[in-house]
């Protein structure tokens, strides 16, 4: 049957649009932050830090809009899950934005300490993995592609493994001599931020699956089945 879209449904769609807009902003911020770190670009880093306020405001307005929608009309099960998930996803994006900011701040700090910095470890690869994850997770959300969403924790495992090997490499540098400690600890923070972003991206997919199926912990269950 032809499904008419009334104002309430339109507002639900609008929430999703807001989320996507926010996710684009966050992705762009993350990319800029990573670039600023790799290329030691102070201007880009400052732009990222300045851009975080907008993301925070979007999170707030999305939350208020969702709450307002809950009170306009009695929501169905699906609407309820959708709105709860939207609020949670918005919060996850906001956290990712904060980490992008942290990465940019690390850029600025490193600039002060070690101007002759050269990327010695494979940060670009880790950053690329995380950004791909984010892209995939958001695409899955947009297209309600639960199969892709369910793959997110496999992707996250790859990120975690890479993080651990980079960590080893970095501690190796630190052991070589004190002159490496400043650089290496900054890099360490950045890879840690990237790894955390991976976890938040997994949460986004978790919420995506919850909104569509009501299943609350898809990855925990998967672990149990596989384990």
């Amino acid at each position: 049957m032809f499904r008419r879209i009334n104002a309430y449904d339109q507002k639900l769609i609008r929430i999703k649009e807001q989320l996507l807009k926010m996710s684009e902003l966050v992705s762009r911020g993350l990319k800029a932050a990573v670039d600023s770190f790799i290329h030691q670009n102070e201007t880009t880093a400052k732009k990222v830090v300045a851009g975080d306020d907008e993301i925070d405001m979007m999170d707030e307005s999305l939350e208020m809009d969702s709450l307002a929608l809950l009170s306009i009309q009695q929501p169905t099960d699906y609407d309820l899950r959708f709105l709860a998930a939207a609020m949670r996803i918005s919060r996850e994006l906001e956290r990712i934005g904060d980490y992008a900011c942290d990465i940019a701040e690390a850029t600025l700090q490193l600039k002060e300490k070690a101007p002759d910095f050269k990327p010695i470890v494979d940060i670009p690869h880790l950053a690329e993995l995380v950004q791909l994850m984010m892209k995939k997770s958001l695409k899955a959300y947009l297209e309600k592609d639960l199969n892709s969403a369910r793959q997110m924790d496999d992707d996250d495992n790859k990120v975690d493994q890479l993080f651990l090997s980079l960590l080893n490499e970095l501690t190796g540098y630190m052991k070589k001599g004190p002159e490496y400690v400043d650089q290496a600890s900054s890099i360490l923070l950045v890879i840690r931020y990237l790894e955390r972003i991976g976890d938040h991206v997994v949460n986004i997919s978790e919420m995506n699956i919850f909104a569509e199926t009501g299943e609350r912990h898809p990855f925990k269950r998967k672990e149990r089945i596989e384990g």
């Binding site: 008419r4 009334n6 009695q74 169905t76 099960d77």
Partner: protein, 537 residues
């Protein structure tokens, strides 16, 4: 003057005795009714067990009429067969004779002590159980004190040889004594009270020994008269059958043993040297005789009763579960009220809601009349159930029972509203028929879809109410927004059809929209019933 004083004393004594018995029974019921109820429900699978349960429950409640009310309630509710119930009633006579044995003890001296202890416990206990125990002891004390008053008021009668001689010489007329005892017991509605009166007479030698047997037989029979009378007004045939069978047992008992009152009296005199004890023993003897004589034949007796009082088809609007005599036992009364509410729900569902679509489709006059008749039956049930439930609430209720009564009141109210809504739908249907309005195919299809969703939800809410199923209730509530969406959708489609000039849609518009709105309202009542189940009231 002395005679008048004696009579007043006697009357007052009986009054105290009955009051004490009732108080004692109330206290015991509050303490143990729940357990006794469980026992009566589970332990009556064969008639011998039934007999034991009858003894225990009657002695436990200190009232054979409370036992019969309980048992008749079970039979009416289908928890127990009539034959089993007759076994329990036979046991109940034995239980009552235990009481009689108890009052034959000369413990009037302790009566005031019992009253004192009872009052202390009743007034000053914080714990409910102790309070009820106090009430029970107080009741016993008053009961014994009543006996003392009766007995001492009889003392001066000895100074009137004429009266004393007349009383004693009564023993020559066993049939008259039998009838006097029967009517006397029927009037004061308690065979122990009547026997206590006999004991008071006996203690002053105002009764010949040969009067014992006819008096006791008469008291046995008289004790069942109340039951027969009250069963006349009770709903359900089984109550009448049980009461009549009980009366029949005791009548047969009287007819068989009355001719042998002399040898039986000798037997009683042999059993004890105390006249009061002899009276109690005689009572016990007949109770035993009846139990042994009739217990093997309860099945046959039940069959005879079923033939004497045949089933009649239940009438719509009859509240067959609402037994007034159960009002004193809140647990049971609430169960019964819930059953009745559920039945009301089924009537609203099957006799009203289910007929909505056919009546719309075919506009059958007879169908519409039936809906109207059912609606007044539902109104009647609503009144009966809410009155019954508020009747229970007059007694002290536990929190849990209070919660359940409130839930029942909400539910019957919702059911009554649904009945009203279906009634307006029936009126709409008459209008449709009179004006020869026709729905568009799509429109009727949508009404059917909406109706079926609401009907399903309604049934689930009833099921949730039946089983106190909170999960199911939640489902019903969650379904409501979907039905609201459906309603919006169908209203939109209707307007859409109107705009595109569907002539049937245009002529049926007002009716169509009224119907959609009616169904939405019915669903909100299903939600309200479910919220009641969840304690959201």
């Amino acid at each position: 003057m002395k005679m008048l004083a004696a009579l007043v004393g006697l009357a007052g004594g009986i009054g105290l005795f009955i009051f004490g018995m009732q108080m004692c029974s109330e206290g015991l019921q509050k303490m143990a009714a729940h357990r006794l109820k469980q026992m009566a429900k589970t332990l009556t699978s064969n008639s011998f067990c039934g007999l034991l349960v009858g003894i225990a429950v009657t002695f436990g409640l200190q009232s054979s009429s409370a036992t019969s009310a309980l048992i008749v309630g079970f039979v009416g509710a289908g928890l127990m067969g009539l034959a089993q119930a007759l076994g329990v009633l036979l046991g109940s006579a034995l239980g009552a004779s235990l009481t009689t044995q108890l009052i034959a003890f000369k413990i009037s001296g302790f009566a005031l002590a019992l009253i004192f202890i009872g009052v202390i416990l009743y007034m000053f206990s914080k714990r409910l159980r102790l309070k009820y125990l106090g009430q029970t002891i107080l009741g016993f004390g008053i009961l014994f004190y009543g006996m003392f008053v009766m007995s001492s008021s009889m003392a001066p009668v000895r100074d009137y040889p004429v009266v004393a001689q007349t009383l004693i010489s009564l023993e020559k007329y066993p049939v008259w004594e039998f009838l006097v005892a029967m009517f006397g017991t029927a009037i004061i509605q308690s065979s122990p009270a009547f026997l206590a009166l006999l004991m008071a007479l006996a203690s002053h030698g105002l009764m010949g020994p040969y009067a014992i047997v006819p008096f006791v037989l008469g008291a046995h029979l008289g004790g069942t008269v109340t039951g027969v009378l009250s069963s006349l007004g009770a709903p359900g045939r089984d109550a009448k059958r049980a009461a009549l069978a009980n009366f029949g047992f005791k009548l047969l008992n009287g007819l068989v043993f009355l001719p042998f009152y002399r040898p039986l009296t000798d037997l009683a005199l042999w059993s004890s040297s105390d006249l009061s004890r002899e009276i109690a023993n005689t009572h016990t003897f007949f109770s035993l005789a009846m139990a042994l004589g009739f217990l093997p034949f309860t099945r046959q007796a039940a069959k005879i009763m079923e033939r004497l009082i045949p089933d009649e088809g239940p009438k719509l609007g009859d509240a067959r579960y609402l037994d007034e005599s159960l009002l004193q036992l809140p647990e049971l009364a609430v169960d019964q009220a819930q059953r009745q509410t559920l039945e009301m729900g089924c009537i609203v569902g099957d006799e009203m809601l289910k007929r909505v679509l056919p009546s719309l489709r075919y506009g059958n006059d007879e169908l519409l009349d039936r809906i109207a008749r059912t609606e007044s039956a539902v109104d009647a049930l609503y009144k009966k159930i809410s009155q019954y439930v508020t009747g229970i609430a007059n007694n002290s209720l536990t929190d849990n029972l209070m919660q359940r009564t409130i839930q029942i009141l909400y539910t019957v109210n919702d059911l009554e509203h649904i009945g009203d809504i279906v009634m307006t739908v029936a009126q709409i249907t008459r209008k449709i028929k009179a004006e020869e309005v026709q729905f568009s195919e799509e429109g009727f299809g949508e009404l059917t879809v909406l109706f079926n969703s609401v009907f399903e939800n309604y049934h689930q809410s009833l099921e949730a109410f039946e089983n106190g199923d909170v999960n199911l209730a939640t489902q019903v509530i969650k379904e409501h927004p979907k039905i609201q969406r459906l309603e919006k959708e169908f209203r939109f489609n209707h307007f859409d059809r109107m705009q595109s000039g569907n002539s049937k849609t245009i002529t049926s518009s007002a009716v169509h929209l009224d119907l959609i709105e009616a169904m939405l309202r019915i669903d909100s009542h299903a939600v309200s019933i479910s919220q009641g189940v969840m304690g959201i009231v």
